[in-house]
């Protein structure tokens, strides 16, 4: 098994990065990535995800910790001998070589014979949808084509792990989606372990088997996309993931008391005194115009007026102003026809759908 194991990997930047970030450091990272897994590192810019990637690539030296692939400790192996591949944000195709030679470069470094390496390069060109572009030079390709060629160049020498540093962030949105699908397909075809750095939540959710969320040089949560969305580990993660309805409050004797609201929620079983936020997913809120309805013991109610209705990819986001807080709930277009702005409504949510987190 060739899993990638990262133990207590750490990096501190002293004086050198002073202008950018006074005391940036990558706090010890402990992580295991399975062979063939698609793992994303997600986080805002400057959170250390690229630094972590460069440490894995060997382009930066770690201050502490180890990197293992299978049974081999590669912490001190130079980048060129790790048999990893990397796709950068820029395609970085060598301008003085044609596409074919660019793709074959890795094989040339491995002293593969010319005929064989051109054959393998051409085959790889087909995989990334660039058949017939081999004789062209990089400046004759569009940005998307260049990044495809860069992907082919990284894959051709059959790397143990493919590292990708925001490879699609310089492309325009429609192209980005196309590249996403291509990468998905290629990952299934080749089964390469991929570590993918991005600040784009959608990209990470779409592609990944697991996602590691990073913030301020720390890996704060590692989980599958669904779990990450439903159960973010902290308010910070929830906010970065763009979750709605993150409500502040505090725990008192097994009850969650909301700030700016008279509402109290009995937290069954999972009450911890450190919990400070409650997350309600918009799709878990039930909107009803029947104000007479009585709450069951499994539900809580919010009363308020519809403030705004916003169309959003086939469904509506309904923004409801309750006492002191605004709540967002998603409703179908049929439901949206039944409510109008300014109308009094009730929002109900099952207690089991509430998610409590600490700061």
């Amino acid at each position: 098994m060739n899993q990638l194991r990262i133990t207590q990997l750490e990096k501190k930047f002293g004086e050198r990065k002073k202008e950018e970030n006074p005391a940036f450091s990558l706090k010890p990272v402990h992580l295991t990535i399975e062979e063939g897994e698609f793992f994303s590192l997600l986080g805002p810019s400057g959170c250390g995800k690229t630094t972590l990637l460069k440490l894995l690539a060997g382009l930066e030296q770690a201050d502490d910790g180890e990197v293992w692939v299978g049974e081999a400790n590669i912490t001190n192996v130079p980048s060129e001998a790790r048999n990893f591949a990397m796709v950068f944000q820029q395609p970085l195709l060598f301008p003085h070589m044609n596409v074919e030679d660019n793709i074959a470069f890795g094989l040339k470094m491995k002293r593969v014979k010319r005929a064989e390496r051109i054959e393998r390069a051409l085959e790889m060109l087909g995989h990334v949808g660039l058949k017939g572009y081999g004789k062209r030079f990089p400046n004759e390709l569009s940005g998307g084509q260049q990044q495809r060629a860069a992907l082919a160049r990284a894959l051709v020498s059959d790397p143990r792990i493919l590292l990708m540093d925001e490879p699609f962030s310089a492309l325009d949105p429609s192209l980005r989606e196309e590249m996403r699908d291509l990468l998905s397909r290629i990952h299934q075809e080749f089964g390469t372990t991929i570590i993918f750095v991005t600040h784009d939540r959608e990209e990470a959710f779409h592609l990944s088997d697991r996602i590691g969320v990073m913030s301020d040089g720390e890996l704060v949560q590692v989980a599958e996309a669904k779990e990450l969305y439903e159960k973010p580990a902290s308010a910070q993660v929830a906010a970065f993931l763009g979750l709605k309805n993150i409500l502040k409050g505090s725990m008192e004797a097994g009850n969650f008391i909301m700030e700016n609201s008279s509402l109290q929620v009995a937290v069954a079983g999972q009450g911890e005194p450190s919990m400070t936020h409650m997350v309600i997913h918009p799709e878990k809120l039930q909107l009803s115009t029947d104000l007479m309805e009585q709450p069951t013991t499994e539900e809580i109610f919010f009363e308020g007026t519809v403030k705004q209705l916003r169309f959003n990819h086939g469904f509506y986001l309904c923004i409801v102003q309750t006492e002191n807080i605004e709540l967002e709930c998603s409703i179908s277009s049929r439901q949206a026809e039944a409510v109008s702005i300014g109308e009094k409504v009730k929002l109900s949510v099952h207690l089991k759908d509430l998610h409590f987190i600490s700061q």
């Binding site: 690539a57 382009l59 001998a81 970085l92 020498s157």
Partner: protein, 276 residues
Amino acid sequence: MMKKNHLPAKIFLFLFLLMFIFLPFIPLVLTSFSYNWIWPNVMPESFSLSAWDYVLFENSSTWQAIGVSLLIAFIVTAVNIILAVPAANAFVRYPLRGKWLFEAIIFAPIVIPPFVAVMGIHLTFLRIGLTETIFGVVLAHISPTLPYVVRAAITSYSTLSVDWENQARMLGAGPFSRFYHVVLPHLMPGIAAGASLSILISLSQYLITFIIGSGQVMTLPILLFPFISGGDPAIASSYSLLFAGMAIVALLILDLALKRYYKKKQAAAAIKGVRE
């Protein structure tokens, strides 16, 4: 619209080239073919090939001087490139304490007249027996030429992002392969520019060659100088033209070598590809 704007500029450039580069050659050419051209005659009284005959055939040291000049210029330039590329790498890539001091030392010969240093160098070379040798002259020529090559290499290096080398590393390229396949092609135009300057400056050195070579290392300027300062003006003109020809040929050789290099790197095909 664009063409109209370009035309006056083109005419101006043409006149400029004509006045400052082409015209000065006319009296030189005339003098070299003249016999007894004295004031106040506008044109020489009679023409003769005697000066050219002397320069090209009678005086056997002419061809030797050209050979020595070119040999020194190319060795100096080769040494300069070998010194300048690592120096530029260090200047651009590494945070260095007192970097300005190193830069000041390397660039000093541009500002300070080189013979100031050469007087000292001469004494040292006398002691270790390097005067009157081609090797000594080569060493002395390095100080006025190195700054230009370093300058050009620094400019090239500073436009080369470390990402390119990182990318090559991730594709399995070791230090030598990275330099040969990625760094060198990028540096080449800069190196060629620096090398051209280095060749020209080395070719036209008179004082340094004269002092260190003590008249034993015969380069073309050494041969030419006595004729300019009071000798036969016809012979001096012939030598001057020969000197200009030698410099132009040296640059053409360099240009040809560069083009061959690019052809090997298939960049020539790239340019063709774009045009097609």
